[in-house]
């Protein structure tokens, strides 16, 4: 079986058989993403319907954007009467972190064919990124397994949206099942998965502290839009870590 890890064999000449196996492996790896996305997607579906989206408009929106927070922000702006341009600017700002993820993944994917790269880019989210990066660090990721993670995540998000949009009236309040904590729970688990050593933990905690501290700047007359907090905190913490650890 040529289930070769990315780091050792960037140009993976997989036989059809093992590619399929790797895709299936990726789907399994991404199962928690599916479980996390489906209910949140459903919540998006319900909300979109209440704003005048048809169920299939909600589905197309989820299928083409696959942007959790970005989509919710779009809805809340539309509710407040924002126009197309300002809605798009706001969601783009929230989604700027994808540039960071994409840049981080890029060096791990030399010689990956453009169609695969396109799919990996299309399905790049906080969760697929974190699961794939953790898998890459375990040296078990392949382009096919990463595509599998993307497939299962996309399915969860789109299926959830469709179910939510179609059953908008009968679902009621999904938060009573703890659905609103699915994403924070997943991020918590991913935090541990990505904390390889003490240095990483310190960097992560510094980023967390910055994320909590930056909003306080508004008290000294420097308001920072909450859309930027994660991006700024991450860049600052990573930069600090690079400078401090540069001699090792």
């Amino acid at each position: 079986m040529s289930d070769e890890p990315l780091n050792q064999s960037p140009a993976i000449p997989d036989a059809r058989h093992s590619t399929l196996q790797n895709i299936v492996r990726g789907c399994r790896l991404g199962l928690p993403i599916f479980l996390g996305y489906a209910p949140v997607g459903a919540a998006f579906g319900v909300l979109a319907r209440s704003l005048g989206f048809t169920w299939w408009q909600a589905a197309i929106c989820s299928a083409t954007a696959i942007a959790g927070a970005g989509q919710f922000i779009a809805l809340s702006l539309l509710t407040s009467g924002a126009n197309v341009v300002s809605t798009l600017i706001a969601t783009s700002v929230v989604n700027l972190r994808y540039v960071l993820f994409s840049t981080t993944l890029a060096p791990q994917l030399p010689n990956v064919r453009i169609p695969t790269l396109t799919w990996l880019g299309f399905t790049l989210t906080d969760e697929t990124f974190a699961v794939n990066i953790a898998d890459i660090r375990q040296k078990t990721a392949t382009p096919a397994s990463m595509s599998g993670v993307g497939i299962i995540a996309w399915c969860g998000w789109v299926l959830g949206t469709v179910v939510g949009a179609l059953a908008a009236n009968s679902i009621g309040d999904p938060t009573r099942f703890g659905v609103d904590f699915a994403m924070p729970a997943m991020f918590s688990a991913l935090f541990v998965a990505l904390a390889e050593d003490r240095r990483h933990i310190v960097v992560g905690v510094v980023a967390a502290a910055l994320a909590l501290g930056i909003p306080l700047l508004s008290r000294v007359g420097m308001p920072v839009s909450s859309n930027w907090v994660v991006v700024i905190a991450s860049i600052a913490a990573a930069t600090l870590a690079t400078v401090v650890s540069s001699d090792e």
Binding site: G52, A65, T87, F187, A189, V230, A241
Partner: protein, 111 residues
Amino acid sequence: MSSVPAPVIWGVIAGMATINFALRFTPLALLSRFELPRPVLRWLSFIPISVMGSLVASEVLRPGGTWQAPLTNAGLYASFITMLVFRFTRSFLGATLAGMLSFVALRALIG
């Protein structure tokens, strides 16, 4: 509820699809084709943990953009429980479910 006009809905759908794809794909396409300098690579290696740290902190302690005090914050305890479960099981699924369950239970207990 007020309905958003169809042209606006379509504009937002098309715009989000295009912009999101550009943001996600462009760096992947351009930067996977040549070697990045070592300091940049080191910087990038710290990005994932930083993003997770700031996401967890924001979502748990400032849900919806408002500060929620730690002592009565069901999400904070549930987040630690999730981390512990993952630490010992290495299962994303198990940890996520344990986190959601403990969140519901704790929320019922401490509001």
